[in-house]
């Protein structure tokens, strides 16, 4: 069957088998291998991609379900000129990865969280600016496993990105 959707802000039309998962289609048919597969049971988060800005586990999400939707993978985060997203830069700056296998999923899960939280904050301009606490970050990121870092560098990277995105938000 053929599915049409938006992939990293570009229209995509792909021939798939109905049984194929989103992770399989992205990795094998689109060759977007930044999508990683590990536990295949929605535990580890390494296959996290964004579908209409929400994080999903590509390993257990049928590709069929993305018809007409917007899919974002790690390959779609840096801009055309190769300028890194603030989260990518923060992961670099804070040494927030070692082997790097969890990193695409980590960054995308964090992006979904920050987009939602910072968006909330912009909507409530009149109210007190809401801080994003460590506890909130940890709660949101608890579905993404990392076996290398011990998580603290990832927490620091997300904090750094929050600060930078808030600054950008204030400027805009």
């Amino acid at each position: 069957m053929n599915i049409a959707f938006t992939l990293n802000e570009k229209p995509a039309s792909i021939e798939i088998e109905p049984r194929e998962t989103l992770a399989e289609v992205l990795r094998l048919r689109c060759r977007l291998t930044g999508v990683k597969i590990s536990c295949e049971s929605q535990v580890c988060g390494s296959c996290t991609v964004l579908v209409d800005a929400l994080p999903v586990s590509g390993c257990t999400y049928l590709a069929y379900e993305v018809r007409g939707k917007c899919v974002t993978t790690i390959e779609g985060l840096a801009d055309e000129a190769g300028c890194l997203h603030p989260l990518q830069q923060a992961f670099l700056d804070q040494f927030a990865f070692q082997c790097g296998f969890c990193t695409p999923g980590m960054i995308l899960a964090a992006k979904a969280f920050l987009d939602e939280k910072l968006h909330d904050r912009r909507d409530e301009k009149a109210a007190e600016p809401r801080q994003i606490t460590d506890a909130e970050i940890i709660e949101h990121m608890n579905g993404n496993l990392c076996r290398c870092t011990g998580y603290l560098p990832i927490l620091k990277a997300i904090r750094q990105a929050v600060t930078q995105l808030q600054r950008l938000g204030e400027q805009s």
């Binding site: 990795r27 977007l32 291998t33 930044g34 999508v35 990683k36 597969i37 590990s38 536990c39 295949e40 049971s41 535990v43 580890c44 390494s46 993978t73 790690i74 390959e75 985060l77 840096a78 890194l84 990518q88 830069q89 992961f91 670099l92 700056d93 040494f95 990865f97 070692q98 082997c99 790097g100 296998f101 969890c102 990193t103 695409p104 960054i107 940890i138 709660e139 990121m141 608890n142 993404n144 496993l145 076996r147 290398c148 870092t149 011990g150 998580y151 603290l152 560098p153 990832i154 927490l155």
Partner: protein, 767 residues
């Protein structure tokens, strides 16, 4: 100690060389790779722990759609199908017999993964079930069935095949002894005795085992793999296929985690045999569930006695260690040997007697796991240090300080003296842990340490290629498994050549391109490969100096070396200008090389002592028995941190891995069957396990044999954390637990025991 020196690139936290690739998703791992005309394999696994294979009927599977061929143990004629670097006991597919649930019995090679998977159900295997041996005690019992009924050839690596032949189900026996432990124990002021258990653990490298093999009938074999030790894999493949080393090429792109679990040969011979059979390149991607059935850590039961005199000096340690090695030796003989050394800790103990057995059982083969035998024995050793301190009525940190070896002191006869400031490390850990804070109710604290003979066997060869345009390539056989070798080695080359970090490129992960490096493990890369890269740079510089003397027509003695080049009177040339002038041609390059071997200051084993010093404060929920980590302190005694941020990252990562085995990680067998071999059921540390307070400190005394006095790190902090938590629990509650992990259930039960004993001891007084 080396003279102070100003560093330009090393000892700075430069961003990782593999960073951009890893944050943009462009980093290629073996699991991401495809090659032209590639077929896929899937593996049929044994449902029995011990059985004879009576027959395999694969005719129907072979006719299934998309299937190219089937590989079974009786279709391997022409190959030498047993491999193993210590002992060649491991067939690439079960031959005649299966030895654990999950052992590969047949492989289907098909046009795609699904076709291969579906055809597995069309293979019919008739088994003759045999009584398995499922634990160490039954494997050692009189008349126990033998996991292996024949002797195998030794693995051929020099420095490996020194494992004495053992009998029955004993895979390896190690005896370490000095002084007279029995006499010292008999006359000691205080003796503590106990039996401890460290669980079976799974490393969970997030990228499961994967390989692509391309066997060319003209006698060439190329394998892409997630292996940590490509040269070891090359050796085993050459042996299986009877090929010369120059005809086997092992390529390792980025690796999604290793932690020891990807040491040595895993699925590569099987995948290569699939390609040999099918006449096509073949990819085999294991699932995590299959990885659970491929390698695990050795679980260990340790019966141990430690004794002190009335003044609080350690006088003896005696221990019997039984390690459950599983169905094949893999690296367990080395784990057994190392555990026997590492149980001493960093202490001076005049009388020692250690017996360690690695025992075959019909379970998943055990092998290297971060720390290599140290975590298993540090838990009992450091638990007993705390018990002795209590008997002596003294502070456990002070008791340790009284017995810790000083730098330069020898604790193992015939081995390298201690090359670290362990007393200083422990003092610093205690200071950072307590920090003048009172202890809250339900909290407990402890500082523990470990001491590992690290670096493995020092054979490390490296090249640097110096280009006339000012760039340099480092050709290194070390694998980038996330530990940051590609960054650290480039930093060292940049430092030596006097050029910016960005001018250095790492070339590695290909046995056809780089020289031999024995392994990427035992925390050796910074120390050994780092030093080889440094020496290779120095050799290239020496060549440049000779060329400069030629260019200028002056004797070499008149040249003065300056950072990045050479001066003669008022004229200065960079290394690169020298090359241009010497060759009178653009685009030239020269090679500097270094061959490290067990000689000179690398003759004494170990290459260095890897010290683990950790402090922990736990918070206990008495209602549920759940322990969480409130404060974590790590001390990295690393000589010199080539990249401080990455070095601290190793300490935190190792401590977190240790936390897993300490609190919740354990593979559980129910009879023959591993029952929690999925990530739904095997719990590893998560974000929410992060300690709210983390204090990390690097100690840099430049006291190692590595570059600029550096030593390795990354495995120290994994070892002491579980005894830290067990000791802290004792401090908080009076419950002494000698079995890991410290699950809520186990802790809760121990708390009830303490409570009932308190009631009992109170009862007579009230009666």
């Amino acid at each position: 100690m080396t003279a102070p020196r100003e560093f330009h690139v090393v000892n700075h936290s430069v961003p990782r060389g593999d960073g951009i690739a890893k944050v943009t998703g462009s980093a290629m791992y073996a699991s991401d790779m495809v090659v032209d005309h590639m077929a896929w394999a899937k593996v049929l696994r044994s449902p029995f722990a011990r059985a004879q294979i009576l027959s395999i009927d694969a005719l129907q599977a072979k006719r299934a759609p998309g299937v190219i061929d089937i590989l079974t143990g009786d279709t391997l004629a022409g190959l030498s199908p047993y491999y193993g670097h210590g002992v060649k006991d491991h067939p690439l597919l079960a031959i005649g017999q299966v030895r654990f649930v999950g052992e590969p019995v047949a492989a289907v090679i098909a046009e795609d993964e699904l076709a291969a998977q579906e055809a597995l159900g069309e293979i019919f295997v008739e088994y003759g079930e045999l009584t398995p041996v499922l634990d160490v005690d039954s494997a050692l019992a009189q008349g126990a069935p033998l996991v292996h009924e024949k002797d195998y050839a030794d693995g051929a690596f020099r420095g490996f095949n020194d494992f004495p032949g053992a009998a029955g189900n004993i895979c390896q026996a190690v005896h370490v002894e000095w002084g007279d432990a029995d006499a010292a124990l008999a006359s000691a002021a205080h003796v503590v005795e106990g039996e401890f258990y460290f669980p079976m653990v799974y490393a969970y490298a997030m990228e499961p085992y994967v390989a692509i093999a391309d066997y060319n009938p003209r006698g060439r074999l190329t394998v892409y793999s997630s292996a940590q030790h490509p040269f070891m894999v090359r050796h085993d493949l050459a042996s299986v296929f009877g090929l010369p080393l120059n005809s086997v090429r092992v390529i390792v792109p980025y690796v999604g985690g290793g932690y020891g679990s990807k040491s040595y040969t895993k699925i590569e011979p099987l995948v290569a045999a699939c390609s040999w059979k099918a006449g096509r390149p073949v990819k085999l991607q294991l699932s995590v569930e299959e990885a659970f059935l491929t390698t695990r850590g050795d679980d260990a039961r340790v019966r141990i006695r430690t004794a002190v005199d009335a003044q609080g000096r350690l006088v003896a340690r005696q221990a019997t260690i039984h390690m459950n090695t599983g169905a094949y030796a893999e690296n367990s003989p080395m784990v057994c040997r190392k555990a026997s050394n590492r149980i001493i800790g960093p202490y001076r103990i005049p009388n020692v007697k250690i017996d360690c057995l690695a025992v075959y059982t019909n379970t998943v083969p055990a092998s290297s796991y971060r720390g290599l035998g140290a975590a298993q024995v540090t838990f009992p050793g450091e638990s007993q240090m705390e018990e002795l301190a209590e008997k002596l009525g003294c502070d456990p940190v002070e008791f340790r300080l009284q017995n810790l070896a000083e730098s330069g002191e020898s604790i193992h006869p015939g081995m390298r003296p201690i090359d670290a400031d362990v007393p200083g490390d422990v003092r610093e850990a205690a200071r950072l842990l307590h920090a003048g804070r009172p202890l809250a109710p339900g909290h407990g604290r402890s500082v523990c340490c470990s001491c590992s003979d690290a670096g493995a066997h020092p054979v490390t060869l490296a090249m640097v290629q110096v280009y006339a345009d000012g760039s340099v390539s480092v050709l290194s056989g070390s694998t980038e498994i996330g530990q940051g070798s590609h960054t650290v080695l480039a930093q060292i080359a940049a430092e030596e050549m006097g050029i910016p970090f960005e001018k250095v490129r790492l070339v590695g992960g290909d046995t056809a391109v780089t020289l031999f490096e024995r392994s990427t493990g035992a925390s050796r890369t910074t120390t050994l490969m780092g030093r080889a890269v440094l020496e290779a740079c120095r050799e290239a510089i020496a060549q440049c100096k000779t060329m400069a003397a030629d260019v200028w027509g002056v004797p070499a003695e008149l040249l003065i070396e300056e950072r990045g080049g050479v001066r003669c009177a008022d004229t200065r040339l960079t290394w690169f200008e020298i090359l241009e002038r010497y060759f009178q041609m653009e685009g030239c390059s020269i090679i500097g090389r270094a061959y490290l071997r067990k000689a000179g200051d690398l003759d004494l084993i170990p290459v260095f002592w890897e010290i683990g010093v950790v402090g922990a404060e736990i918070a206990l929920d008495r209602e549920t028995g759940k322990i969480s980590l409130d404060t974590l302190v790590t001390i990295g005694d690393v000589g010199l941190a080539i990249n401080p941020a990455m070095t601290e990252g190793q300490d935190l990562g190792a401590a977190t891995m240790g936390l897993g085995a300490g609190l919740f990680e354990e593979l559980i067998y129910d009879g023959q069957q591993l029952i929690n071999g999925t990530m739904l059921e095997y719990r590893v540390p998560r974000f929410s396990d992060l300690a709210p307070n983390i204090r990390m400190k690097l100690v840099q005394n430049r006291d190692g044999v590595g570059p600029y006095g550096a030593k390795g790190g990354g495995e120290g902090a994994v070892n002491p954390i579980s005894p830290c938590m067990a000791n802290a629990l004792y401090q908080a509650t009076g419950a002494r637990i000698r079995t890991l992990p410290l699950t809520p259930e186990r802790v809760w039960k121990a708390l009830q025991c303490v409570k009932s004993q308190q009631v009992k001891t109170k009862a007579p007084a009230g009666a």
